[in-house]
């Protein structure tokens, strides 16, 4: 048994305490299992992985269910039963082991299942347990007390990203045993990433298409550099792993091109530092460059991949230019923006030719001096009615077009594109309300393409 623990400790650096705790709970065959264990900690800290490998290593019969998948409790029960009973679904019929609609059915069928297979000392693992809060109210208490309810020696492991206190439910009679998976420290991350060495070596070989040898020290040096940049902004292991892999290719490049030597860590650092900083900005975005024909080319493209990706996603200009809208749709969008960011009482002054004189009052003078946080454009869009949108549309459009169904369709297209959002209820056909979801920079570019001066029609700028 000790060998298993040691093996796990090797595979999961920094998880020694948690592995030992879990082993003490489940590792001893002759002791009864606890009824429920609650494991919590931030994402990608090895919760599911540790539990899974421990249970597999101890050869404990288990059912592992990801609750995201369970849109109804029926799916949850049936997949637990399927796994515990070892039921193979016939893909031509698709019948589960047993049909369960509620907890009672589940417990009944669980007992029935216990007659067929030995369910003693089996474990049910509920991953993403925080989803339980939005499911049937009796699920959490039932699973907490499953041992008691079913009369079987079945224990339940909850894996969650939030603490147990956030599971608000009444009659909290039973508190599970809690194990916390803490965030990895920098050293631990370094050690975990180092485990990828073989994998990365293969990856590098694939990428450079040649016999290109790197040693482990070279890689761990790189990881040190990498973490010095990334550790401050991101602790998510899977993200770090992804980024380190991508950037390692670029790190190796000078060596491959024979510009630097393998040992010249300073030169390599000077080469990689700007690249790492650039890729910080595309963290979590996961955009890989557009597929290319040749490998050789791919390397080149990957070099400025980070930059192009940045262009793709961040510059508003490119977005507005990429987006091709029909002429009237652009005007509709502008009208929507104006309706969202102007108070309705100003409409008359802004859009009518003869709106009469406005007497200056003390209030207006004061209103001039408002701070920028109170500007309409800074406050976020306000909802507006359909009629107002159309009225403004006709006011800003110079030529006369008749109001036809093609225009109406454009409005719903804009909603579909998430440039507008519908505020009112979908079934309320009479008074539809919308909000404009685009930013000022965006609308400025759009209005530039149709030669429309938007600032002239915004209260904030007058």
């Amino acid at each position: 048994m000790d060998s298993l623990v040691n093996q796990l400790k090797m595979n999961f650096p920094g998880r020694t305490y948690q592995i030992e705790r879990l082993f003490s709970l489940f590792g001893y065959k002759n002791e009864p299992f606890v009824s429920s264990v609650f494991i919590y900690g931030p994402s990608s800290t090895g919760k599911s992985a540790v539990v899974g490998s421990l249970l597999d290593g101890l050869e404990i019969r288990n059912a592992c269910v990801n609750l995201v998948e369970c849109y109804s409790s029926k799916v949850l029960f049936e997949s637990i039963l399927n796994q515990l009973s070892g039921h193979k679904i016939d893909p031509f019929k698709g019948h589960p082991y047993a049909k369960c609609d509620n907890v009672m059915d589940f417990i009944f069928n669980l007992r029935k299942c216990a007659d067929e297979v030995d369910l003693n000392k089996s474990v049910i693992v509920l991953d993403k347990a925080e989803r339980l809060r939005n499911m049937d109210y009796n699920l959490l208490p039932a699973f907490l007390k499953l041992k008691e309810l079913s009369g079987l020696s079945v224990s339940v492991i909850f894996i969650s990203e939030i603490i147990f206190e956030k599971y608000y439910f009444k009659a909290r009679t039973l508190e599970p045993i809690k194990i916390h998976f803490s965030q990895y420290t920098r050293e631990e991350l370094w050690e975990i990433l180092r485990l990828d060495f073989d994998h990365v070596q293969n990856f590098i070989r694939n990428n450079f298409n040649e016999n290109f040898d790197i040693n482990e020290e070279f890689f761990s040096n790189y990881l040190n550099l990498f973490l010095s940049v990334f550790y401050r902004v991101c602790r998510d292991l899977s993200e770090l792993r992804h980024m380190s892999k991508l950037n390692f290719v670029k790190y190796c490049e000078p060596v491959f091109k024979k510009e630097c030597k393998l040992e010249d860590s300073m030169g390599l650092w000077r080469h990689i530092a700007p690249i790492l900083k650039a890729s910080l900005e595309v963290l979590y975005l996961r955009i890989s460059p557009v597929s290319q024909e040749g490998k050789q080319q791919s390397v080149e493209i990957k070099c400025d991949g980070a930059r192009t990706v940045k262009q793709f996603t961040f510059s508003k200009e490119s977005l507005a230019q990429f987006l091709e809208l029909p002429f009237y749709a652009k005007y509709l969008l502008i009208a929507a923006y104006l309706a969202s960011y102007n108070p309705p009482k100003e409409d008359k002054r802004l859009f009518m030719k003869y709106h009469g004189k406005k007497t200056k009052r003390m209030k207006d003078v004061k209103a001039k001096n408002i701070v920028s946080e109170q500007l309409n454009t800074q406050l976020g869009p306000k909802p507006f009615g359909f009629e107002r949108l159309v009225a403004i549309f006709y006011a800003i459009l110079e030529e006369k077009v008749d109001f036809n169904s093609n225009l109406l369709v454009q409005i719903s297209t804009l909603v579909e594109l998430q440039l507008l959002s519908m505020v009112s209820d979908n079934c309320d056909l009479d008074s539809r309300k919308y909000k404009c979801c685009v930013s000022f920079e965006f609308i400025q570019i759009i209005s530039k393409t149709v030669d429309f001066n938007i600032t002239k029609y915004l209260v904030d700028f007058n």
């Binding site: 109804s72 997949s79 793709f312 036809n404 225009l407 454009q410 579909e416």
Partner: protein
């Protein structure tokens, strides 16, 4: 059936039609498509239309697949290789499609076909409209995977497993565990459960599972997030690939996915062509060719392109409009059957009856043609055979004209498209619409273009002319029509090219020199004012041209003359109505303007009712015979923003029941029947959205519309 639907309340009743299942219905081969069941199928014009449309449709299809092929092939290729290396994230292809939604269906159906053909048989397509919640999404995904292959199996194995065929997996039992079981049955079980990062390489033979989301933006964020999380948890057992169709930009993906989800996918971006390029392609390669005898006139063509550019950017819509115009054109009568290729012309002519010929003679351009040359010979036209022969000749001329029209338009396009400010437009479609509506060579833009060309440098001009030559060469190779014209033109141009190439840009100064020195001497003696005058004079004097400039001038003159000859507008030709459709009355059918339609219906009910009693002498008159709603509507047009109900009722009564008028207005007793009619009509108007009850004043309603 009427018995069963009697109910106290309103309701919707479902009757199961005892029809065959959808499955069977699809398989039933339809004999000869729509031809057999169409009432027009034996009409001459319809046959002609059908033939032409079939040709167009076929060309469209090939064009579509060619157009999509470049982007699709790279997409399919990347999908193919996505699982070659071990993955930790779901490989995701994001296809930026542009906003013209209706066109996407073609793209995505081609995509899924391509994937099926080249990569994997397992493709599921999820549409936003039937993905209300996660349950539906999962069920429909799994259902598409599992049941679709079952069908294929049963196709192959035929009757072997009869019962399998029948027992499709029920939708409610479609879960991911089922999918896993199904996949393992197909390809064998995966390795042991590996919790450490998935480093398993996909084994050969394991086919990918591709899920396509054609309209990513319209999906609920939550659903997509959950779906991605689930898929990523199964990624080590099932090789999933996602394809997102994004209409706006990549940021839409990141907007709807939080970090913990977006880190589960690895996105590759593919850009598709903008829809304007698509349209230009379609127009140039399909509608602007000689194979399509049917042409849009300038006005209608403008209308269609305007709809495209201003309203929807939908190529599919454009093609639909084109088809509609074509139907409208052909349904004019059998005489339109002549709008066909030169090969079929003779046959079509033979089939025409005397009446058809008479109708042709009625066409304005033909009428002019008949009267113009020889009014005394008019009787000759009554002779069918004579007229047919004449038409045959004339049509041959017309074909030649059409051919040269397109050809020279293309040449002109090459010359003028990249001029500064492009006076004639940047697209060939703009040239076409000008050229078909008026004589393009007479326009000021044309003059301006040639002025600009005459400023072009040697290299620029050389390049352009050689491009034109290439077009001509291609034309000479492919087409037999107008061969001598094209050949001559091309020869002349080649000649010019050679001359341009050899021409020097240096001014041949030798004859000038003595004069210049002489003038220099004179300058020395002049005072300032004289000098100024002299200089002005000199600048006015035409600058002496070098050799190149001379050739350029000559070339431009030649080009102008040629274009003038061949780019006459079609309406100057007789019989142009047969080939060009320029009837703007179809605008009403193409652009549905509902408000105008409602206004017309209420203002002039006779327009729709076609009754004799409601004929209006002028717009404003109100007749008692009209429907109540329309009387009230016409009355309400006369009011201001607020309408007093009582006044309204009185005016209503004075129209509907004018006999009672002599009584005093105030004391008048309103007949309950009339009041009921009035109330009903008011309610109708409110329902139509013209008025609403006012909260500020009792017994008043507010008008909601303005203008006519």
């Amino acid at each position: 059936m009427s018995d069963t639907t009697v109910s106290v309340s309103k309701g919707v009743f479902v009757f199961k039609n005892g029809g065959t299942s959808q499955h069977k219905r699809v398989r039933k081969p339809q004999p000869d498509g729509e031809d057999s069941c169409n009432i027009f199928s034996n009409k001459l014009w319809y046959q002609s239309y059908n033939r032409n449309w079939k040709i167009l449709e076929k060309k469209l299809k090939t064009l579509n697949s060619n157009m999509f092929s470049s982007i699709l092939s790279s997409l399919v290729e990347s999908i193919k290789h996505s699982h070659n290396t071990p993955v930790t994230e779901i490989p995701t292809a994001t296809l930026l499609t542009g906003i013209n939604m209706p066109d996407h269906s073609a793209l995505f159906s081609t995509l899924s076909r391509e994937i099926r053909k080249n990569v994997t048989p397992h493709v599921a397509t999820l549409h936003a409209e039937d993905s209300q919640n996660l349950k539906y999404v999962i069920e429909s995904t799994v259902n598409q995977f599992v049941n679709q292959t079952l069908e294929d199996d049963s196709d192959m194995e035929d009757c072997e497993n009869e019962d399998n065929k029948k027992s499709k997996v029920r939708k409610s039992s479609c879960t991911f565990s089922l999918l896993q079981a199904w996949y393992e049955k197909l390809y064998g079980p995966p390795g042991l459960r590996i919790f450490f990062p998935v480093k398993r390489k996909m084994r050969d033979g394991h086919k990918l599972l591709v899920v396509i989301f054609p309209d990513f933006e319209s999906f609920n964020d939550k659903i997509i997030q959950d779906f991605i999380l689930i898929v990523s948890s199964y990624l080590n057992k099932l090789p999933f690939v996602l394809v997102f169709g994004v209409a706006t930009s990549v940021s839409a993906v990141h907007k709807s996915l939080p970090y913990h989800v977006s880190s589960k996918i690895s996105v590759q971006i593919f850009n598709s062509q903008p829809s304007t390029t698509y349209l230009n392609n379609v127009i140039e390669n399909i509608f602007f060719t000689d194979d399509c005898p049917f042409h849009l006139g300038g006005k209608v063509f403008n209308l269609f392109t305007d709809i495209f550019l201003f309203y929807d950017l939908s190529v599919k819509g454009f093609i639909k409009n084109f088809k509609f115009a074509m139907l409208e054109h052909f349904s004019f009568g059998n005489s339109m059957a002549l709008c066909t290729n030169s090969r079929n012309l003779k046959k079509a002519l033979e089939q025409l009856t005397h009446e058809d010929l008479e109708r042709i003679q009625e066409l304005p351009s033909v009428k002019k043609f008949i009267i113009n040359p020889s009014p005394e010979k008019k009787s000759k036209f009554a002779d069918d055979d004579y007229f047919k022969n004449l038409m045959y000749e004339k049509f041959q001329e017309f074909y030649a004209y059409l051919n040269s029209f397109h050809l020279f338009l293309k040449c002109l396009y090459v010359l003028v498209s990249d001029l500064p400010k492009s006076p004639l437009g940047k697209q060939i479609r703009e040239l076409y619409s000008t050229a078909t509506s008026k004589n393009i060579t007479k326009t000021s833009e044309f003059e301006e273009c040639f002025k600009l060309i005459s400023f072009q440098s040697k290299d620029e001009l050389y390049e352009k002319i050689s491009k034109v030559c290439k077009i001509l060469e291609k034309e000479i190779e492919n087409n037999k029509m107008n061969k001598n014209v094209t050949e001559e033109f091309s020869e002349r141009l080649i000649n010019y090219i050679e001359r341009i190439e050899n021409a020097t840009t240096v001014i041949s100064e030798s004859p000038l020199k003595p004069q210049e020195t002489e003038e220099n001497l004179v300058i020395g003696k002049m005072d300032r004012r004289q000098l100024k005058e002299k200089l002005l004079e000199m600048s006015k004097k035409s600058k002496l041209m070098n050799e190149y400039e001379k050739i350029r001038l000559e070339l431009i003159e030649y080009l102008k003359k040629t274009f003038e000859q061949y780019l006459q507008e079609p309406s100057s030709r007789s019989f142009h109505e047969i080939f060009f459709f320029n009837d703007m009355s179809i605008k009403k059918q193409i652009i549905g303007s509902h408000r105008a339609a409602i206004h017309a219906a209420l203002n002039d009910p006779q327009y729709y009712l076609q009754c004799n009693c409601c004929k209006l002498q002028n717009e404003a008159t109100i007749l008692p015979s009209m429907p109540d709603v329309s009387i009230l509507y016409k009355l309400h047009l006369e009011y201001g923003k607020l309408i007093n109900l009582y006044d309204w009722l009185q005016s209503f009564l004075s129209i509907v029941d004018p006999d009672d008028n002599n009584e005093e207005v105030g004391k008048r007793v309103v007949k309950p029947e009339l009041q009921a009619r009035f109330t009903q009509a008011v309610a109708d108007l409110e329902y139509l959205g013209f008025i609403k009850s006012s909260k500020r004043k009792t017994d008043f309603v507010v008008r909601l519309t303005w203008g006519g």
